[in-house]
Symmetry: D2
Subunit: 420 residues, 4 copies
């Protein structure tokens, strides 16, 4: 069923040193147009405006997720004889490699504006993209659907699902290390090899030995720190606000039939029609970035200004506030309006909630030395229990308003009064 | 003259950990549109097709070059009292920061096709871009020109020139480490802190203590290895060939007035008119990448095919050959033609010459313990002398031709006979 | 007052790359016999038996602590103008460099057996060792005493004390990174440069900006992980038990006037007489290690066996138990005795308590953007609050007993019943 | 034949992250007294006096050599099916693990004084140490001898010999990386994983693909730089001189029957009698270091002074000279004598010769893509050819003499005249 490539192939990788490929199926999937497209989608969206090194793409992360899965399976095979079945092995590798194939440009940021739910698109691409689907079908007719079910977390292979998307999955393992390396921080560091070593298959579950609990804590905290220090950095959140505002301004102009540069690739997203997989795959960050450049020369002063701010890093600033009531938000918006600043595009109330440890069905279970299943890690670790999601409230708007320049002075006074 | 920013600012950097900025002038230059544009130009052009991690931009390298200069000046100041003059310090920092501001997208690759000589553009931008020029003028009226003279290597501050572009300059120091980190190789590793420590101002020259000669050798070899293993990797050279062929095919169609998607930003480059700084700065990699995507759907089958090959990594393969005479090249081209393959777009003869150590005026001079100037390092190091440029000859063409698929079998036979 | 060395000197260091020395006083202190002796005392005692890389000495850590202090002072000086006073700067540097000079071999392990309270000895050496004292006196007559007071945490320079020994001190910063590097784990990793950047002098206190709280959390957790994963590793605790048992067996034989190899350097410690600084400094790990080798050939079978076990890594094993009452411990000891195993030397009940975050007077205080002192970090961080000390109870004894070999089978049954 | 340990065991390692052991034979060899003794012998002798981090032992390096061999064999097995034979695999692993088991304390330094030829001792220990020999015999009666033959480079398994000691062996691969890490330099860095990947068995030889030649160059240069920058550092060479002088002074006193502290372990080495394996294994660095401490309090002023200099790092300084004739050396010695400095103990002429690349039988052969053996790498690489051994001549003596302090002024004048 699974052909080997003529010889073991490798990719040089800054995180894993080498990524090893011995299966032709994997090799061919990497070479599909849909997968190569991930080179044109940054892993961390607008984060490069905060951490200049965060320029890496989803392509590199997808390869790294595959490699991490390969390592986990090798450990399982060496030490527990799982999976004996080549098809399950291939299923796990393909799901790891392709788990992000449905991402669009800046998708985490603009999925509220565009129909960008990436997991749905991933499933559709596996089935509907002829190039990808043909390769997957080589295993058997049901294989593409089986990979899609793993992505959808509805698989009859719950252990594979667990390895791909849970509190302890290969996706996170790779992105924490990769994002840390590229941003230049150590917050995402953890003991990858040891973490893999303490994992073991246990029925439908992947569990860890209680003696390795601290290593799991280190890994959970890597995520905690990356969220608070990198992913939810206020400068990045402010860039995301700006990006959403640019797009919604353009949509407004489009609805009003005003003069607007709009490349063919974006039209289906603006028109609200059903989007095909083919159309979806034509959109990438180069289209978005190019469009933003053009909008810097738009007639509409708001679109022009917002595009310029985002492209040239004149980003919004922020004030930490207490939680605000709807009526308070209205009052502030009104104040902006009365000072000639359109709150629809120049004001945003953001709640950044750090992601804690969630137990539900995909928690991390411990077992003891005798192989008896104990409880979820949160029952045993005060540290993990302390990781309850925390919310921060922030107002974003242009820095000149925050600084109270010119006639914005009264606004600044108001904002200062709301500070947390 | 030189204002400090309110407080020391930092950028988190994967190579230097932190990049320190205390001068408002530097801060403001970083925030210009012309400098922010460098985020949209990759440091290593098409190399990401060979080393997937090579996705970093000239923006990050420019910051790193500045930081390296800052470290060198701090060492010079602590240990030799140079430069006493704040203006010279600022000159060196600005030249380091801005030395690549004139780079265009894939400029090393397509400077033969487009008027992309980046050092000329750098100088023009310093003088003609109002935003950049206004900031530089804050020092004094002559300052922008002085920075440009450093870039042009015609400065009355030869020591600053030496620090910016010579065999031992801050530009190389940063890019070797940065490119190594991002590609995931160790070839570019060297002892940065020690290299800086053994450097010293000596009249108009920057020299090194003879006792530190091995550290200089290590640094020179880092460059040697990066050239042979990364910069001149045949897969990258083949990608560059493809890129040049796509562009020249498009130019041919444009000359013939055939139907061709061409964004406004590229028109001046195709029309051959004089290009203004404003026009130049509007071109970046997002324009090029977007255009390539559009060309994948062009009417012309050759343009469509080449754009698809480049975008989706169906790259050319290569054969190492002996040096070929013009008449031999012609014969091969004719053979391609007779098999229905247009050699103008599907065949390329490339000579990759590794850059050795060049002594000329910008060599590296040693001094002894007593501070007496000795000779150029090549006089003292057999290792350095061994680094004479080496040329490799290669033929690039589609892999299906190389493999002799279908009716290409005879071609393959011919090519095999030329192998080195 | 403070002479510079002729030129800036450096030490190459695996943690900090370079350690910079520009003061002759520091240079001369490093070259004293008392300081050089720290090369012969391992930083982590018996930990090398668990983590083979943990072979580094207190010498390297002491240099690293000095360098960390130098960095903190440079940051304070650049950004807050503290300390203006050269004498205080030198006080801080000397205290950092010399803070561990009073350590004896395996002192954390056998301070219960020998009079090894290292902080007391550090103070005595500063005053009583003529070589060290003469150098310190060069500043002024009160200087040596002032350094000693900093070590004693009774200084009139509370801010210096805080930098040397508190929850946020340069000692920990260096040892976490150094121990992590040498053991090969990432648990001790944290953002050193950023941690330093967010520290600031605030009256007599060193505080951190609230916006940097997560970086402090990362640092506090580095310690938490190093304690649980490295410092309190059961194999190390078991080695320490063995070391104490060897020494106490030798003391017993000495008291009984039995035949015993005992080098001159150890005699004062066995005889219980007052020990002079000169005598104290003659003891180092080479003496101890050599003595252990000799004891491997002792007449007494228990001493011989224990020394062999420790030297050749036939270490005790352990069982995690619930907390045991005194009477239960007695019963177990009795059982050992009845099976021919002397519980005084072959059984040990250990409580390993992870060190949490302690607030008391040396906690970490936050300030807000406006420079107003907020509260202790534990008031703001659920993560920090979760770090309450945890106790683990373990029984240590020979592995053959644990495995129930030979006639030890009944013991094993008993021990299994106590497992936690 | 080869039992597995119950489960895969690991050692945490700063160079390889994890060292994997699955064979009980390997596990048991690690736990022998002879192997554990390597913990008490530093890998780099007196180098820690130059690079304070160089405190690592031959134990860690021996584990690392084993792990490197394990990786090479895994690559050979995955890609070339070599060795099919479990016995050969075990032979290669055992030889890698045990290759340094015969090292004595500071053996490279004092093998001229003591009978310390470590390769001979390694072979003897494999055969004569009952504990080691019994474990090896478990494979079969001939096995211990076979391992010894590999060490002696006279094996009927030339490929295993090649992997253990040649220009491209696992010993060097580990020590370059490990010594670099511990000293804190990058000089020893090279692409380990890639180097392994390009190696392949070829008859009795291990060869590399020509396309990987630059990676081999990088590895050869790592050694070149480590020799010149670390292993032959003049401060280390001076420490070695001092060590040899201390020992020869002690021997002189012993011959003269003068009062001398001499531990039992050293007596056989002084008396010149035949030394047994048992006696040999009783000597380690703790004995030497302890003895040096005692000699600091010797009656003989020369022994006392030399031991103090070495222990407390009052090392000899050096002058680089031209090559000196015997008669010139005599004149200098006489001058020392006439100024009251005994040249036998306070003067040394040293020639440090960097080790180049040696082709002879253990050179590195290349093969081309078609698997045809080409020539030795030096035929193809100008870089490698440039690495001819270079000699440096240096005079070592006390720094006070070099500085011309007191009545040494005339000596200084003379030495200055000899400077290179």
């Amino acid at each position: 069923m699974v052909e080997w490539v003529d010889k073991e192939k490798v990719f040089k990788d800054p995180v894993h040193d080498y990524i090893y490929v011995k299966d032709r199926l994997i090799w061919d999937l990497i070479n599909t147009r849909a997968f190569q497209r991930l080179r044109r989608i940054r892993q961390l969206g607008t984060s490069f405006l905060t951490f200049h090194g965060a320029e890496h793409s989803r392509f590199t992360h997808s390869l790294g997720t595959y490699e991490t899965m390969r390592k986990v399976l090798s450990h399982f095979d060496r030490n527990f004889g799982w999976p004996g079945d080549e098809r399950v092995r291939m299923l796990a590798l393909c799901a790891a490699l392709l788990h992000d194939i449905g991402h669009g440009p800046f998708s985490h940021t603009i999925e509220s504006v565009f129909p960008f739910h990436h997991e749905t698109w991933t499933q559709r691409i596996l089935i509907e993209d002829p190039e990808v689907n043909d390769i997957l079908k080589r295993v058997d007719d049901a294989f593409a659907l089986d990979v899609a079910s793993v992505i959808a977390k509805k698989s009859k292979y719950p252990l594979v699902v667990k390895l791909i998307s849970s509190q302890l999955d290969v996706d996170r393992m790779d992105y924490l290390l990769r994002d840390a390396l590229n941003t230049g921080v150590t917050y995402g560091t953890f003991e990858l090899e040891r973490l893999i070593r303490i994992m073991r298959p246990h029925g439908d579950d992947v569990v860890v030995k209680k003696s390795g609990m601290k290593t799991v804590e280190q890994y959970i905290l890597a995520r905690y720190f990356m969220y608070s220090q990198v992913y939810l950095h206020p400068v990045t959140v402010g860039s995301d606000v700006l990006l959403r505002h640019v797009v919604s301004r353009a949509q407004k102009l489009w609805e009003r039939n005003e003069d607007l540069f709009l490349p063919d690739e974006l039209k289906p997203f603006f028109s609200g029609e059903e989007i095909t997989v083919k159309e979806y795959l034509e959109l990438d960050e180069s289209v978005m970035t190019y469009t933003l450049q053009r909008w810097m020369r738009a007639q509409d002063p708001i679109l022009r200004d917002l595009a310029d701010r985002l492209t040239n890093r004149r980003l919004f600033g922020s004030v930490d506030t207490r939680a605000l009531k709807e009526v308070e938000r209205e009052t502030i918006a009104e104040m902006f309006r009365s000072h000639g600043v359109d709150p629809d595009y120049y004001l945003s109330f953001q709640t950044a909630t750090t992601d804690g440890y969630h137990m539900y069905m995909q928690g991390i279970n411990l077992i003891d030395e005798q192989g008896r299943q104990l409880d979820d890690i949160s029952k045993h670790s005060a540290l993990v229990r302390s990781l309850v999601p925390e919310s921060k409230f922030r107002i974003f708007c242009p820095k000149e308003v925050l600084r109270g320049e010119g006639n914005y002075k009264p606004i600044r006074g108001w904002l200062d009064a709301l500070r947390d």
